[in-house]
């Protein structure tokens, strides 16, 4: 079962003393996220923004009740941080780190799924329950509380589209970044199942991009009745050329597979409208919800 966050979620920040960890701990605290501890091996006893720092997750758990983890540890060391969080039973685990080798991700994601623990990412902006808990690096100002859920493979594009949804007066419930890597802990289907059950979400936006077939599989899932609320999609990379990675490790067309066209056609045949431009998403949603 997929688990996200809410006002009650208590968080440890792994890699809290690094530049990114420090900066985003401050912003998450400002948002109201309950960060109770931080971990950096060798920095136990320090504090960051008033949050006590421990050498290990186990020590942090001895002193605090903790539910979830967010990881800012550099790529070569990030997998071990994930295993530490898995061993502690933390759920969800948000992996912000970019550049983790695919094989490492494959292994820790397999471990997590066996233990029924949700991994968000890697290479994700994180997850936000608007107005309650921000477990990630997204700019708070683009979100306003509302009824639209967002599932996305891209960070800034999510902010772009969320900004329009906020401005048009709809607002967002929970937004989750799946991550820009070829393999991630969650895919669209996992998240759609969660949003189907979420009473605070009336509609969902899927933000996809070239590479892989997660959007096509999501379309199939929707067509088969797995997700029944209104959905709108946007797919980036219509102009991408095959064989070239477009920024994200996962954004690459290999052979005939993973093109924007194939994703758009699959979604449209599942009766999910696909916006041509990012700003069209909010307009289409408004039409569907009124």
């Amino acid at each position: 079962m997929v688990r996200f966050v809410d006002a009650e979620t208590r968080v440890v920040v792994q890699g809290i003393t690094g530049k990114q960890g420090r900066f985003h701990t401050k912003l998450m605290l400002e948002y109201g996220t309950k960060i109770v501890a931080g971990v950096t091996p060798g920095k136990g006893g320090d504090s960051v923004e008033g949050v006590p720092v421990y050498d290990t997750v186990a020590e942090a758990l001895d002193r605090h009740r903790i539910d979830a983890s967010i990881i800012f540890v550099p790529a070569p060391y990030a997998p071990d941080a994930v295993y530490e969080a898995l061993d502690a039973g933390l759920d969800p685990i948000v992996v912000i780190t970019e550049g983790i080798p695919i094989r490492d991700t494959m292994e820790f994601v397999a471990r997590a799924r066996k233990s029924d623990i949700t991994i968000i990412g890697p290479n994700t902006p994180g997850v936000i329950k608007v107005g309650e808990c921000k477990l990630g690096i997204m700019p708070a100002r683009v979100f306003t509380r509302g009824k639209v859920g967002i599932i996305s493979r891209s960070g800034t594009l999510t902010y772009e589209i969320a900004d329009h949804i906020s401005r048009i007066g709809l607002g967002e419930s929970t937004c989750v970044g799946l991550g820009g890597d070829p393999i991630t802990g969650l895919d669209f289907i996992d998240a759609l199942r969660w949003f189907e059950e979420d009473p605070q979400t009336d509609a969902v936006v899927l933000i996809g991009e070239i590479g892989g077939d997660a959007e096509e599989r999501a379309a199939e899932f929707i067509a088969e009745g797995g997700f029944t609320k209104p959905a709108v999609a946007y797919i980036a990379g219509r102009t991408a050329i095959p064989g070239k990675r477009m920024g994200h490790a996962g954004a690459i067309i290999q052979g005939e597979r993973g093109t924007a066209r194939s994703k758009i056609e699959a979604l449209e045949s599942a009766e999910v409208p696909v916006a041509e431009k990012p700003s069209d998403v909010a307009r289409i949603l408004k039409g569907l919800l009124s």
Binding site: P76, I102, V109, S154, E160, P182, A236, K244, A251, K277
Partner: protein, 379 residues
């Protein structure tokens, strides 16, 4: 990182997978020597990082050493599928009785390695999948459990190997899986795996390494680092040296964005309004002024670029830093090109003020900005 055939074969040899006798060369004279050493018919294969070589004339047979010299001379320095051939692999010609295929690929859907085998070797696996999908034997490997000997035996049995070949074939498949795991392969293939009078031999080899894992394969970079650049255009190589995430396209509107998804969406939107992007350039998150300056200067220096569209959604990226970078690039290069900037988010007011002072107008909406940049070029 996509290894060339000869590089992949060296790795295969390190791992004990049988490959034909032969060597790499950039000199036709040496090609003759290699053929003499081999002492029989040879095959001369262009080493280029694209598929479909054979059909495009990049793989030629030679009966004698003299013929090998002639063939190497035509191949080296020429082009195959639009790529310049710098080196050829000269190998003994195998007496092939049957062609099989073995491969290990990352399957994004199941989040695991998938091992593939088929009796229909010698053509692209995608082609087999399209024509006779029932002939592809596949096994999804649990990343925690791994791939076991009996799995490998079962698979090669399915593609028709028996007796000693079954044992040899499963041994090769296990070694291939080990290469995938230990070398962080995104894909590794033996196609064809040839059944010859000398047993099973990997006649062609593919090995693509996950770029994110290169930090733990330093020796690989030292051995084969150059060929990684063969995939890239000259501008892409320059950009790589500067540490920019850049992909060259064939239009005339230079694009800079922050975040891969937003940058891709920017290209798409420009195209939607009838413009042609000259490139993809993603600043990533939190770019400071000097990085922005470098990116803008890079596009200013590109003669194909007739106008530049910069699209920034500031989160951890600060708009004032972006503005300083843009202004510095214009001042230092002294190059004037029409520029459209769309910038919202963190430190937006300060960023806009800086740009307005420098005479650059800032827009709120990326669609509006895309339309503007296209109209500047009179389309």
């Amino acid at each position: 990182m996509r290894l060339l055939e000869w590089e992949a074969k060296e790795i295969f040899r390190d791992y004990g997978i049988p490959i034909p006798n032969g060597r790499i060369t950039s000199d036709p004279m040496e090609a003759r020597e290699i053929a003499e050493e081999i002492g029989g018919p040879v095959v001369v294969k262009a080493q280029i990082p694209v598929g479909g070589r054979g059909k495009a004339g990049g793989v030629r047979f030679a009966e004698t050493a003299e013929e090998a010299y002639e063939v190497a001379k035509t191949l080296i320095g020429g082009e195959v599928r639009g790529v310049k051939v710098e080196r050829v692999l000269v190998e003994e010609k195998m007496d092939i009785q049957r062609e099989l295929y073995l491969g290990v690929v990352i399957d994004r859907g199941s989040r695991s390695y998938t091992v593939l085998a088929t009796s229909e070797g010698g053509m692209e696996i995608e082609e087999v999948a399209a024509r006779t999908p029932e002939k592809i034997i596949r096994m999804t490997i649990d990343p925690v459990e791994g791939f076991r000997v009996h799995h490998a035996r079962w698979m090669v049995k399915q593609i028709g190997l028996i007796g000693r070949d079954l044992l040899r074939g499963s041994d090769i498949l296990l070694r291939l899986y080990r290469i995938a795991v230990e070398m962080d392969a995104e894909l590794t293939e033996i196609n064809p795996l040839a059944l010859t009078s000398r047993g099973l031999i990997a006649v062609d080899a593919r090995l693509n390494i996950d770029d994110n894992a290169l930090f733990r394969h330093q020796t690989l970079l030292e051995r084969f680092g150059e060929s990684e650049l063969l995939d890239l255009t000259e501008r892409e190589r320059e950009a790589r040296k500067l540490g920019l995430t850049y992909v060259e396209l064939d239009g005339d509107i230079g694009i800079i964005g922050n975040g891969a998804g937003l940058t891709m969406a920017t290209l798409d939107t420009v195209q939607l309004y009838g413009g042609k992007p000259a490139n993809f350039l993603d600043l990533g998150g939190g770019a400071p002024a000097d990085r922005v300056e470098m990116a803008v200067s890079f596009l200013l220096a590109d003669p194909r670029v007739r106008a530049i569209f910069i699209n920034i959604l500031g989160g951890i990226t600060r708009c004032d830093e972006v503005a300083r970078g843009i202004i510095a690039a214009r001042e230092k290069t002294g190059v004037e090109k029409p520029m459209v900037v769309r910038m919202i988010g963190t430190q937006e007011e300060e960023g806009r003020r800086l740009l307005e002072e420098a005479g650059i107008h800032c827009l709120d909406s990326m669609e509006e900005a895309a339309e503007r940049v296209v109209s500047l070029l009179g389309r």
